[in-house]
């Protein structure tokens, strides 16, 4: 599972080209952001849209030397080398000397890292912060002249980001609030030995969890207890959670169980594992209801990406639900969760890169309709084992088609 990145600085290896941008060739960029760093637009259309002016920054113990004091508006790539012996940071500040247009943090001594920004004409400051404290050193005026590049304005990112986080946290709470009673109902049936009912509730109940799986995984100790597969467990460690019960509800034949006859859990063992799952689900519910619980904006978009990675590495291969074969339920829930996360940041991304948003929209729709051919959460899906290799490959192709544009979302979002 992709862990959300810890910070929100845009860093990306840029293709550093000759100083064509300086000649004013940055054209055709549909929408670029002025006052915050962001990576170049989708480079598939206009060749010069990604032409990037390369600048170097030397951050030493007592200076912050930028290779030029002036650059044309458009895509600027600052390559910062830390020649000092402390961890350093580099900032591009707006004309008030306060607002951060772009930043790179955590540059270890001797390390080189890029900051790529789309800069509008105007007055800026560059500053380094070796040791990461104080106001920094080497604060220098930096001027961006008008190259004629078409750089659109964007809305108020900070406000939009806060709103997106609020909405997403509400969604997470909503899912887990639904998960808690549904899990109880499932476990009640399982405890009582009503296996038919338990089996019928299993996949649908899990959907609430699968929609927000990256959030659950962000609480490092809970996901292993709730959702580990048998193979994930270390020897000598107790295997608990959904898949432990799954195996008991869909007991394997000996040849699928390392040659050993599967021993069904006793009523007492059923109660034991049920109690644990109920308690761990409750703990998850408590965790997201903590007063200070929030998510960062990049965690939302990385969560969308992570959910698709989950599909690609677990569900599409039938490894997640090896006993119940209900992988397509998980697939659907992952997809829905990813879509919600994406929709949550859409308004921030769209002005910056409408083509990317359109492409992601299109691929979401295509993959959803492809998956719908095999069922729905309400009506049920076909078992994973009923899919032909060709059908699985078609679904995998759809996952790849969506994941590629989706993987660009965070860089645009935080840019």
């Amino acid at each position: 599972m992709t862990q959300p990145a810890a910070t929100t600085t845009p860093e990306r290896r840029s293709v550093q080209r000759p100083i064509r941008a300086a000649l004013g060739l940055v054209t055709g960029v549909v929408a670029l952001l002025a006052l915050s760093g962001c990576v170049p637009n989708n480079p598939t259309t206009e060749g010069d849209a990604t032409a990037t002016l390369a600048l170097t920054v030397d951050s030493s113990a007592d200076s912050c030397t930028v290779s030029a004091a002036e650059a044309p508006s458009g895509s600027l790539a600052f390559t910062i080398t830390n020649s000092g012996d402390q961890v350093t940071e580099f900032y591009l500040l707006a004309d008030d000397g306060l607002r951060i247009v772009g930043e790179v943090e955590n540059i270890g001594p001797g390390i080189t890292r890029d900051l790529v920004v789309q800069a509008k004409p105007g007055d800026y400051y560059t500053v380094c912060k070796p040791g990461m404290i104080g106001d920094g050193i080497g604060r220098t005026a930096f001027t961006v002249t008008d190259s004629g590049a078409d750089l659109a304005d964007s809305g108020d990112d900070a406000e939009a980001a806060a709103a997106a986080a609020t909405n997403y946290v509400a969604y997470v709470k909503d899912q887990i609030e639904a998960l808690v009673p549904a899990t109880t109902a499932f476990l009640d049936a399982y405890r009582a030995g009503d296996d038919d009912t338990a089996r019928s509730l299993y996949a649908l109940t899990r959907a609430s969890y699968e929609r927000i799986e990256p959030v659950a995984e962000s609480f490092g100790d809970l996901d292993p207890k709730i959702d580990f597969r048998e193979a994930d467990v270390e020897e000598g460690t107790e295997w608990t959670g959904w898949h432990r019960i799954e195996k008991d509800l869909w007991p394997p034949a000996a040849e699928d169980n390392n040659g050993e006859a599967y021993v069904p859990l006793t009523a007492a063992e059923r109660a034991y594992f049920s109690d644990l799952l109920q308690a761990d689900t409750g703990a998850l519910n408590d965790a997201v209801h903590e007063a200070d619980y929030t998510v960062s904006i990049d965690a939302i978009s990385n969560g969308a990406i992570g959910l698709l990675d989950e599909v690609a590495s677990g569900k599409i291969t039938g490894e997640e639900e090896i006993w119940s074969h209900t992988d397509l339920w998980d697939f659907q829930a992952n997809l829905e969760g990813a879509r919600v996360a994406f929709e949550g940041v859409r308004d921030i991304v769209e002005p910056k890169d409408p083509e990317l948003v359109a492409q992601i929209d299109e691929e979401f729709t295509a993959l959803q309709s492809e998956l719908a051919a095999y069922g729905s959460l309400d009506a049920g899906f076909v078992s994973y084992t009923e899919l032909t290799t060709e059908q699985v490959k078609d679904l995998a192709n759809g996952v790849n088609a969506l994941s590629e544009p989706l993987s660009k979302l965070t860089a645009v979002l935080v840019g």
Partner: protein, 421 residues
Amino acid sequence: MNDTPASPKKGLSRRGLLSLAGAGVVGAGLGAGASYAVAAAAPGHSGAAASYPFFGEHQSGITTPAQDRLHFAAFDVDDISRDELAELLADWSYAASRMTSGLGAGGYGPASGPYDSPPDDTGEALDLPPSGLTITFGLGPSLFDDRFGLAGKRPAALIDLPHFPGDALIDALVGGDLCIQACSDDPQIAVHAIRNLSRIAFGRASIRWSQLGFGRTSSTTRAQTTPRNLFGFKDGTANMRAEDTDQVNSAIWAHSSEGPGWMAGGSYLVARKIRMTIETWDRSSLREQERVIGRTKGEGAPLSGGSEFTEPDFALAGRGDAPLIDPASHVKLAHPTNNDGASMLRRGYNFVDGNDDLGRLNAGLFFISFQRDPQTQYVPVQLSLAKNDAMNEYVRHVGSGIFAVPPGAREGSFVGAGLFG
């Protein structure tokens, strides 16, 4: 030396057991060497003509500068006798000593010998130099069951590897009674070695699983540059080097004080076929990639700073007092300082076995390590990685094997001879 090679197996065996002399001498005696481009290159040459001696204190292919290509094969031994097993190992050593010298597998060579007999070498290495070929033999745990009367001889260090969290082993890619690691700078030379050794074994042992590797992922000497794995990162920067004599002696070679005498000067090989889900890796951000590895992608410097060979500083913190090197990063979890000093000699290779049913490259790293005691060197490190490594999202262990690698053979003897004494 007047046996006729009309029956290659028999002839080889007799020679193998009775006169494992220097291969060049044997070859010349049978008039086969002349058909090879380099009959017997001087040991230690670099480049295509490089050749390494087969006989010696240790087997070659361990501290030997890692060659560029690999063909590894694990074998199941057929229903044969203990003597026949010894004979097989002797035949293998004989052929290996010839091939590592740039000679044919058998005495006649691929284009000579009785016209009505199949050539005793398959021929694809004809006209090619030795290309640094090394052939390294290993003995798996299953060899020490009750079939060959070797049950009492199993070294304690030849453990059964435990289940590691996340293991997705495929039965067909696990275990083996015997293994051969053939390394060369020319893929055709490595394949030629396995092919001919496999042929020699027909009726006595057959390949259980095998692996081709196309790019070394470690350096084993200081002179070698650090290569890259299929994640695009330098791999093996912190690897032990042959020049680190003390470390090599203490970490790689088995000692007679702690195991059977016949293993003294040998080592233990762990092989793991690690599939990489490169499609999801490739669409992860540079930030995520460097976080997972703990090093920069370009230079390979630890994220705590410096250059490639700077020691990582796991305590150095950045913003929010979080360490610059993530505690779940690969470099942190694999580092000796986080594993009670455990280290091993890694000698792995990149592989791409075509694609899977879903159109994804079946690609990854064929991990090989040599160590004196897998229980204290390999197992704790892999356990720590399997539990916590941020990289686990992008890798899956699908194949596994552990083998005792006996010491090198003296001229006239064969690898593994001590087992039958």
